[in-house]
């Protein structure tokens, strides 16, 4: 199968992603990959994707048209309204697209990121083993950049049978984390407040990080600490010099010198990155054994 599509409308931060470019931190490159990894995989199953890559789009949605060929498409992540030509379809869902068809995904009703996967592979080169776009390192995807209106993509290769999936149900509970590298540098009463006070997601979010608003002033008087740079990972909760907490995203810098009070557990990262600006977030500390047991049981 070969098909081609043209992006007719794309919000900022719309990019091609696969599961991630792991293994290159020592070259100065973080892994990238979907902000909501589980939704990305589910969109692939819904499309019956025989490829590794898909399109991640942000809150504003995505419009595209099919220029040539017939292809299968699947979508998931957050909650968007989706229309094939003028017919509303369900979210998450699947459709076969034909030449001349327009797929219109309107701004999100919930969540920050949605995923569109196809039956085949997106024809962009594999860079260092991955098709993921690193907006930070400006590599991968389509010329290392975000997708914009007018971009044309070829989809090639075989397709598996699309699967039917029920919408994913995610709990609303607190975001779980493991106390971090520098937790002991924060006084005990501050650490207690960190798990009892609410924070708010701000609109200063992108694939590199999400800034939080500290309305209760938990970190208002925390000393500015000068630390040697150490490797950082996705989900690290850094406290900037002015007391602003920032959670590092999939396109994080490889190292950082800000104190880190904790790291969000892998099982809660997808859910955290889908929290919208102004949403309240509470943090709950869990033990490492508990976090790893959640991963082994596949629980989210």
């Amino acid at each position: 199968m070969v098909a081609s599509i043209t992006i007719e409308r794309a919000g900022p931060l719309t990019s091609i992603q696969d599961a991630g470019r792991f293994g290159h931190l020592a070259d100065g490159i973080s892994a990238s990959g979907p902000m909501d990894l589980a939704a990305f995989h589910r969109a692939g199953l819904l499309a019956g994707s025989g490829g590794q890559a898909g399109i991640e789009f942000s809150m504003l949605g995505l419009d595209l048209r099919v220029d040539d060929g017939t292809l299968s498409a699947g979508w998931d992540g957050g909650h968007f309204d989706v229309f094939l030509n003028d017919t509303p379809l369900i979210w998450p869902g699947h459709a076969d697209l034909h030449p001349g068809d327009r797929l219109r995904i309107s701004p999100a009703k919930a969540g920050n990121y949605g995923y569109l996967r196809f039956g085949g592979e997106i024809d962009v080169p594999e860079i260092m083993g991955s098709r993921s776009t690193s907006l930070r390192a400006k590599l991968g995807g389509l010329d290392g950049r975000a997708l914009t209106a007018g971009d044309r993509l070829q989809i090639f290769g075989s397709c598996a049978e699309p699967q039917l999936l029920a919408p994913i149900i995610r709990e609303d509970g607190p975001i779980r984390f493991i106390w971090g590298l520098h937790a002991e540098l924060f006084p005990l009463d501050l650490r207690q407040k960190f798990v009892t006070e609410a924070f708010r997601i701000t609109s200063m979010m992108d694939r590199m990080g999400v800034r939080l608003k500290d309305e209760a002033g938990v970190f208002a008087n925390s000393q500015i600490l000068s630390l040697v740079s150490d490797p950082v990972i996705c989900g690290d909760i850094q406290i900037l010099g002015d007391g602003t907490p920032i959670v590092l995203g999939r396109d994080h810098q490889p190292t950082g010198g800000y104190p880190r009070i904790g790291t969000i557990i892998w099982a809660d990262l997808d859910r955290f990155f889908q929290l919208r600006p102004n949403a309240q977030v509470m943090f709950q500390s869990v033990g490492l054994d508990h976090a790893q047991a959640l991963l082994r049981s596949g629980t989210q």
Binding site: G28, I29, L181, S229, D230, P231, I233, I264, I265
Partner: protein, 210 residues
């Protein structure tokens, strides 16, 4: 010195501030760990004073990895030393717009600064910040300057940067608050090559003015 970093990585730290000893121990340990695959470990990353070990928590538990790491630390005989490289640098002028100011702040002529800067080989301390971007050290006390007060939004790939007792080399276009003292034609990042970066932590760099 061993700490979990989230549920899928751990950090082996050799110091809480940057010095020669902590950096060599980190590099030597990373080399030893890379030489002998550890079950469940998916990535080993040397940094300035620590080594990140990423593992697959579905296969391995923190305690298993930590146990293996402790054994390895006990018998770590590896050397931090790597390859030696000669790097041609065009100092000053449009290649290094901050050279004159840097030399002035250090109370020497630009020529004297270049000669002091190139007098001893530097070691690659770590690759970080951007693809192929290397931090190299350490310069003697007489060559230590803080960063600039303002950040240049973009310096080109190959820029040779100077601050904090170190020389750094940009392999891609980046923003930086470091002083730009020169430019090298050597490229440390080629995304189509395997591996994509040439300089490794522990390598020795000899700078040559051209």
């Amino acid at each position: 010195m061993l700490q979990p970093l989230g549920d899928s990585a751990l950090l082996v730290r050799f110091g809480s501030h940057l010095d020669e000893a902590a950096n060599s121990r980190a590099i030597a340990f990373a080399k030893a760990a890379q030489a002998k695959p550890i079950d469940g470990v998916v990535e080993i990353v040397p940094s300035l004073v620590s080594v990140l070990i990423r593992y697959d928590p579905i296969i391995s538990r923190y305690q298993d990895i930590a146990g293996t790491v402790r054994l390895l630390l006990g018998r770590n005989q590896s050397s931090a030393d790597g390859r030696e490289w000669r790097l041609p640098i065009r100092f000053g002028g449009e290649n290094g717009p901050d050279l004159d100011e840097v030399a002035g702040l250090l109370k020497m002529s630009p020529a004297a600064f270049i000669s002091h800067h190139n007098a001893t080989p530097l070691r690659v301390l770590a690759t970080s910040f951007a693809p192929g971007f290397v931090y190299c050290g350490f310069h003697p006390e007489a060559l230590v300057l803080p960063r600039r007060n303002s950040v240049r939004p973009l310096v080109k790939a190959g820029s040779v940067l100077f601050a904090a007792g170190q020389t750094a080399i940009a392999a891609t276009d980046i923003p930086t608050g470091w002083h730009v003292i020169g430019h090298t034609a050597f490229s440390n990042f080629d995304p189509t090559a395997v591996p994509p970066t040439q300089l490794k932590a522990g390598d020795r760099l000899i700078f040559e003015a051209v």
